[in-house]
């Protein structure tokens, strides 16, 4: 706590740098032609704007309270004068005409002053040239103006994650009960892999609070990182484990007697040497308190109580 306060107190130093900085000027009303002119040629696009959040006059500073279409696309007079050719004299959110940075800058000019986008600069999306319009469209009435629902939207780019989600052991993502954004800060944050926490365990404990302990008998890899044994997006093995038990446990536990014993097809139900260290849940048939235990003596220490 003391260290936390010391570090926190350093921050005012940076406030000295605040002076002299000015918010970027964006847009301007010169050369605007008004919504009706735009609608005259682009009625279908206007109609999709009209059902969007941006068209709501009740929202302070919404485009509807500014220059309408020209709030995002820029003044249209030059565009009209030049026969209205696509992208001529006007800003359009086309991959061929504007790069990701300038497209995002348009959105950030209004949305940049929000908590959600404060850390956009930290986002992996930004450096990968993902712009706001890759996921959002202002020309729709969908929630948060998203182009699709999760996880399909994210899986368009994150195809290997889609493959994981399709596996038999998974979080309820494809069932729609858990969203990518429940765990990940898609607009940027400080966590590894853009997760909404400083460490994987801090994130997992938000839903799995019973794993938080603190326990008397701990299992160090568990306490350090849930991802030592689990994978978050999907697995072929029960409980989202990274590999099959007993091999997963034996990757670390080699000792005399059963931790180092070879368990094969002979130790399964139909084998001649059935072993409760191999059939069914293998090690977990006995050692199920692997996330921690307060059990007595060696029973607690070995996670069987």
């Amino acid at each position: 706590m003391k260290k936390f306060i010391i570090v926190l107190s350093i921050f005012p130093i940076f406030l000295f740098l605040w002076g002299g900085l000015r918010p970027q000027e964006v847009g301007g009303s010169d050369g605007t032609v008004g919504v009706e002119v735009c609608k005259g040629c682009h009625e279908d696009r206007y109609n999709t704007y009209a059902i969007s959040t941006h068209s709501k006059k009740g929202i302070p500073n919404s485009p509807a309270n500014k220059e309408g279409c020209e709030t995002c696309h820029g003044p249209g007079a030059a565009h009209v004068e030049k026969s209205g050719e696509r992208g001529v004299g006007i800003f359009i959110f086309s991959k061929k005409i504007a790069d990701a940075k300038s497209k995002s800058a348009k959105c950030l000019s209004c949305h940049g002053e929000t908590k959600d986008l404060s850390f956009w600069d930290l986002s992996k999306h930004k450096v990968s040239d993902v712009s706001c319009d890759n996921c959002h469209t202002v020309h729709s009435g969908t929630r948060k103006n998203l182009k699709a629902t999760q996880p399909d939207l994210c899986n368009i780019c994150h195809r290997s994650i889609r493959a994981q989600q399709n596996k038999t052991s998974h979080h309820p993502i494809r069932e729609g009960k858990l969203k990518c954004t429940d765990c990940h800060d898609h607009h940027g944050g400080f966590g590894p892999k853009m997760i909404k926490a400083n460490a994987p365990n801090d994130l997992c404990y938000q839903c799995h609070a019973e794993k938080r302990g603190p326990y008397m008998w701990e299992h160090p890899p568990v306490e350090e990182n849930c991802l030592s044994c689990h994978t978050s997006h999907g697995s072929n093995h029960a409980k989202l484990l990274v590999s099959r038990v007993p091999q997963l446990c034996q990757s670390c536990h080699d000792w005399s007697r059963h931790p180092g014993t070879i368990y094969t097809g002979f130790e399964t139900f139909r084998g001649p040497s059935k072993s409760n260290r191999m059939f069914a849940r293998a090690c977990l048939n006995c050692h199920s308190a692997i996330h921690g235990s307060n059990g007595p003596s060696l029973r607690g220490k070995t996670h069987v109580r």
């Binding site: 195809r159 400080f190 400083n198 019973e210 603190p214 005399s256 849940r281």
Partner: protein, 711 residues
Amino acid sequence: MYDRGGESMKSKVFIIVVISSLMTFLNVSAEEMKISGEVSVTAQHLNIEGEKAKFNEYRDIRDGFYGDFDFQYEREKYYIDFKGQDVGRKTQSYEFSGGKWGSFKYDFSYDQLPHNFTYGAKTFYSGVGGANLTYPTHPPSTDISTWNTFDYSLERRNYAGGFKFELLKPFYFQASLSKETRKGIYPLGAAGTTPGGIAIELPAPIDYNTDNLKLEVGYNKNPLSLSMSYHYSRFHNDNSNLNFRNPSTAITAATTDSFTLPPNNDYYKLGFQGAMKLPWNSKFNLDLSTSSAQSDATLFDSYVSSAGVSNITLSDNVFNGKVDTQSYNFVLTSNPFYFLDGKAFYKYYKKDNKSDRITTTDTTALPATFENNLFGYQKEKYGVELGFRLPASFYLSSGYTRGQIKRDREDIPENDDDIYNINLRWSGLDFMVAKVGYERLHRKAEFEYPSVTGPTDDKNIETYVRRYDAAGKDRDTYKVSLEFFPMEDLNFSLGYKHKDTNYKDTILGLQDDKRDEFSVDADYLIMKRVRLFGYFDYEYVKLHQFQRQFPNNLGLDDPALAPTTNAYNWTVTQTEKNYAYGLGAEVFILPKKLTLRVQHNSVKSDGFADYSYLLGTNSLPAGRTQENIDISAWDNYRLTNFLVKFVYDLNKSLTFAAGWAYEEYKYDDDQYNEYQYVPGTSGSSGAYLTGAYNDPSYRANVFFLSTTFKF
């Protein structure tokens, strides 16, 4: 099994409150109001053979009706949104939100989520669902037809509410409260006696409550963004222990064994985040937080053993757990020139374990006196990332990260990581983006040799073991992808990733981990009438580990020793081949009127474990060969589904849909095949199982008919 009446009543009260609030608001507002929304009702018929629990793992598909709705109301700057999904099902959720644009907003929500593991499990115990399991006469019956039947499943119910006040922009304040209840039964494995005893599968109760409070205040106006947050979480378990009569001992029903369950805990986190724009299009970002988790548990001073009850002496009968964490992140981002992106960062995370150290004295244990280790660790990471926009539409990025981990652990107390990456992206053509990337992780691990009592101490084996979570390793990752969109209506993409991890210091343990992933995606809209789409994913995983089997206390731990019949090395190579593909078409039979969607998906996994006894000239145990010991079905499964769906838009307000879905799941696994509830009643072949996770295969047909009314 347990009373859910209270929960059901809470959800009804929630719905009534929300609806009455909505109706009240609608009545008082008269002018310039806009009401919109939609309501849908679906009738469903299910025909299923096999395990319903796996089919409905996170779902509630069954015969009957369910509904969805979304009501939106707006009046000038005020708005209300009330939506519900899967109404009438165990997956139902409701969200009521509203507010005044630019001033405040609030939301209330209720969400249900089942997690079904196995239906029709069996046990000889009575009292399932509670914290006391018993059976009348010892030994318990092995005739499973006389056993009690129950379901392994749990249900989460989440009640939440939040409020955000932003009238005094750029300042804001937000608060949220949530309560989650979890009720159900899960399988808990317990050793009968240890070592060498039977395994007992116990139906353990889940009666958890988690309350969360989050508060945040902040300021957002260029060039500064600041926020301070507080999170408090309280976890409560109604059952501190699961008491059960242990069938591996001859004790009476009056003496019960106990399994400790997750303890109650309290957690808080205080955080501060900030970002400040700097000259040269730069930004300084920071994140500071401190948190603490605490628990307490009353400890047992005895335990049940084969001899009866064994007493132990503890330095304290109450364990107070306390773990503090501190986290600091500083990141400077900069884009001083159009062609240059830069980022420099420093991250620090410390977990400080301040729990009680308890000394246990157990005269039957070896050593007789021992104490719990308090695990904590500290991670530091710093690095730099640079990105260059090059001529000809190339973008080159590269980064270096240096990481250090120090942990309170006997074997590997320290890691030093060097991570290098380089990525090249080319977007020189309007219809194509190509990417190639490489990353190398070089991890050094400081290894502490075990302190042993002599050459016959079994702990000598630790000299050769390197646990993969902290072991030294080199990891190379290669990525290539191509996105191709030659026409507005055609998208095509290819991706390949190869990851190769070599645990270079490991003698015993996981030595190699190789993974290949390949994916293809295509989406094609033909003449605005037919949209074809498909994907194919392939993954190959290969893990290789080297192990040693040896008898205790004879000093035969060294893997370099010549093999004997009871002290030898062995290996296992596990492979997984995963295939997944999906094909579909959307046919706009009557544009904007009648649409047909057909879709087929398939996911398949083949797992294999190739064991090898490294016995030299010694013979394998009787009956075994290097071939017949392998496991050919290891989490093998195939999930196949088909969907045929017609959607008819009668007009802008009314839509009808009808269809059929088929899903088949086949599971094949050598560890579960020919499942036995009681494979034996003593020794290491003994177990009293309940059928948990056994045979989850199913085949299901779902017919559905729905109508949606939009207004």
